[in-house]
């Protein structure tokens, strides 16, 4: 990004609490939360070539861990996202170990099962209404905010937390570990020959991805102070998956538009009275994205189409081979 873009981004981040209504600030906070979660999907899909259709469930595990770290262990709020990340990463590793023994679709399957089971489990643990925490997450006096402006303080906390984690994730992904993830995805045998422990790298990668989702779940507790099973539904996981496919998982910064759409689309649909069509929209997005781009990048294909360039080869070489077919 150029310097001008960076300045513009920082200006937008600072202007939101200054001029936005409390509801708008809340949505902006949620957008930052989901950026972290989508970064996790970037690791899983873009770097490891795996798919998770249950990423919302890992956020739920993070939120649950956060709530119980505060309620049962008495940890201070500000460190709870770390507890969330650790819990979700542990769960991710737990799911990854058996499923990666059979590659490909199995992780997706187990995450589907998790995404369906988790809301039930959360309701079982904490009751249908969940638990309320974070009610005393009020701005300290040095900020100059009064106690009714808590959403601005929470926004600030989430932005700082998200920025720190995304920066850290970017460093890790550009470093040795990030490159070994790509090596394991593309050439597992060559990677092993170069001394990379393939299985361990994959499990660590999944744990890292799930840890990011868990951290996001912990951050979400700052924004809305209750943790309940009905927030981390299977639909949420499916929508996140759809956006990962739609926006392409190959670049970390794509988690920004993905998070924007995830939070703002329902608001937009409600405004036009089309709220029940949300899953239809995501369904169509998936169908169009996979049709146009195959395993390639949907956004990339769209960009080229809009510029009038020819179709990329990655889409066309996926069609059926030119073999003359005879009658059975």
């Amino acid at each position: 990004m150029t310097r001008a873009w960076q300045a513009a981004a920082i200006a937008v981040v600072l202007l939101v609490p200054a001029f936005g209504s409390p509801v708008f600030v809340l949505h902006a906070t949620e957008i930052f939360v989901f950026m972290v979660a989508f970064a996790g999907l970037h690791v899983l899909t873009g770097r490891l070539g795996l798919i998770s259709i249950g990423h919302g469930a890992f956020m739920g595990i993070g939120a649950l861990a956060s709530a119980h770290a505060v309620l049962d262990l008495g940890l201070p709020y500000l460190v709870t996202p770390l507890a969330s990340a650790i819990a979700a990463a542990a769960f991710g590793a737990l799911i990854a170990v058996p499923s990666l023994r059979l590659p490909g679709a199995y992780l997706a399957l187990l995450t589907v099962a998790m995404a369906m089971a988790l809301p039930i489990l959360m309701i079982r643990i904490d009751g249908p209404l969940g638990v309320r925490i974070g009610e005393d997450l009020l701005p300290p006096t040095w900020t100059g905010l009064d106690e009714y402006q808590e959403e601005i303080w929470q926004y600030g906390l989430v932005v700082v937390g998200a920025a720190m984690v995304l920066g850290l994730a970017s460093l890790i992904l550009n470093g040795r570990f990030g490159r070994s993830l790509i090596a394991v995805r593309d050439e597992p045998i060559a990677a092993a020959a170069f001394g990379i422990n393939v299985a361990r790298t994959q499990v660590l990668g999944v744990a890292f991805a799930c840890g990011l989702a868990g951290f996001a779940g912990g951050l979400l507790v700052f924004a809305t102070p209750y943790v309940a099973g009905d927030r981390y539904t299977f639909e949420l996981s499916l929508f996140m998956y759809a956006l990962t496919i739609g926006f392409g998982a190959q670049r970390l910064w794509m988690s920004i538009p993905a998070a924007l759409v995830l939070i703002m689309l329902p608001q937009l649909l409600i405004r036009f009275g089309w709220a029940p069509y949300q899953s239809v929209v995501y369904g169509l997005l998936l169908l169009v994205a996979t049709r146009l781009a195959g395993s390639g990048e949907f956004v990339e294909v769209l960009r080229r189409r809009l510029k009038g360039a020819s179709r990329p080869t990655s889409g066309s070489d996926l069609t059926e081979p030119d073999i003359v077919l005879l009658e059975v």
Partner: protein, 321 residues
């Protein structure tokens, strides 16, 4: 003893619907290497068609009979008999399966299963959203094609075996038997088996891979529709009627080793029995939480036997992304 027997009997009709979806998943997976996560939603759409064929125009039916919804697709004039409605839904299901294969999955090619999974999740969301919208207005009722009154049952050692359960099991058994015969004895069955064992080779000897796959998907979807239609009496027709079924069926198909319809069948009844017995005998397991334990059992089973009970090397090959 009678309580135990009762729980086993109760598990049977659940087992039948799990089995129909699990076998459908296995067929599709064997042929095209794609796990059709929308299999349950396709069956749900078919069940809605059965309900649609059964429903009266508003204000004409006797009270307590299948009712019409308020949506555009609320009713179609005179209600059909139950068996005809289920047959209609099976035909609809087959057409849906063929269309999804032809226009959604086939254009994506078979090099890489990830786009296909994406498209299938897209279908899942699309059907879920459409069903909620098109047929808004509460649950729909199809009714049972078998005698299903309170007295239609055998009493065996104090347990009640309902005629409906027997009817569902016999129908499913007959259909699966017929499918096995089709696979073993007919030309298209031979083509299907050739395709399963060696897709490249099948293409080279001139089998129309696309058409065979389309037929495979159609049969699988019809099977799912049959399962959905048969249990619609106990499950009721709702947009989320298949959510739970899908998890158990996936678990069953994986436990059975994904490449193996017999394994899927065994897996389906295993999970149905486990569900019924866990809920019945373990006090802290209620029907909602049984799903969680199913997941636990699945993870455990995959850890011990990654290929499932009846798994083959095909399972591993086909699932390689």
């Amino acid at each position: 003893m009678s309580l135990f027997l009762q729980r086993v009997f109760d598990a049977m009709s659940n087992g039948a619907v799990y089995a129909s979806i699990a076998v459908a998943l296995t067929m599709v997976f064997r042929a095209s290497g794609v796990l059709n996560l929308a299999q349950g939603e396709m069956a749900m759409m078919s069940a809605y068609v059965a309900a649609l064929l059964r429903s009266h125009p508003p204000g004409t039916g006797p009270p307590g009979r299948p009712f019409a919804g308020s949506g555009l697709f609320g009713h179609l004039g005179t209600p059909w008999p139950v068996w005809a409605a289920i047959l209609g839904s099976v035909v609809f299901g087959a057409a849906l399966g063929a269309l999804v294969q032809r226009y959604v999955v086939r254009p994506l090619g078979d090099q890489d299963p990830l786009p296909a999974i994406g498209a299938i999740v897209g279908i899942y969301l699309l059907f879920r959203g459409l069903a909620g919208k098109l047929w808004s207005g509460g649950v729909r009722i199809v009714g049972s094609p078998f005698p299903s009154g309170a007295e239609d049952r055998f009493d065996i050692l104090g347990a009640r075996l309902r005629f409906e359960t027997i009817g569902i099991l016999v129908t499913l058994g007959a259909v699966l038997g017929a499918l096995t015969l089709v696979q073993r004895r007919t030309k298209i069955g031979l083509a299907f088996r050739a395709l399963v064992s060696n897709p490249e080779g099948a293409r080279l000897v001139g089998i129309r891979v696309g058409s065979v796959l389309m037929v495979g998907w159609a049969i699988a979807a019809a099977l799912g529709a049959l399962g959905g239609g048969l249990v619609a009496n106990t499950l009721n027709v709702r947009p989320d009627m298949m959510a739970r079924v899908l998890v158990f069926s996936l678990a069953a198909a994986i436990l059975g080793g994904l490449g193996n319809p017999l394994g899927a069948l065994v897996g389906a009844f295993t999970f149905a029995l486990l569900e019924s017995l866990l809920i019945g005998y373990v006090s802290f397991i209620s029907s909602d939480i049984a799903l969680v334990y199913t997941l636990g059992i699945l993870v455990l089973a995959l850890t011990i036997r990654p290929g499932g009970i009846f798994g083959t090397s095909l399972t591993v090959d086909r699932s390689r992304a």
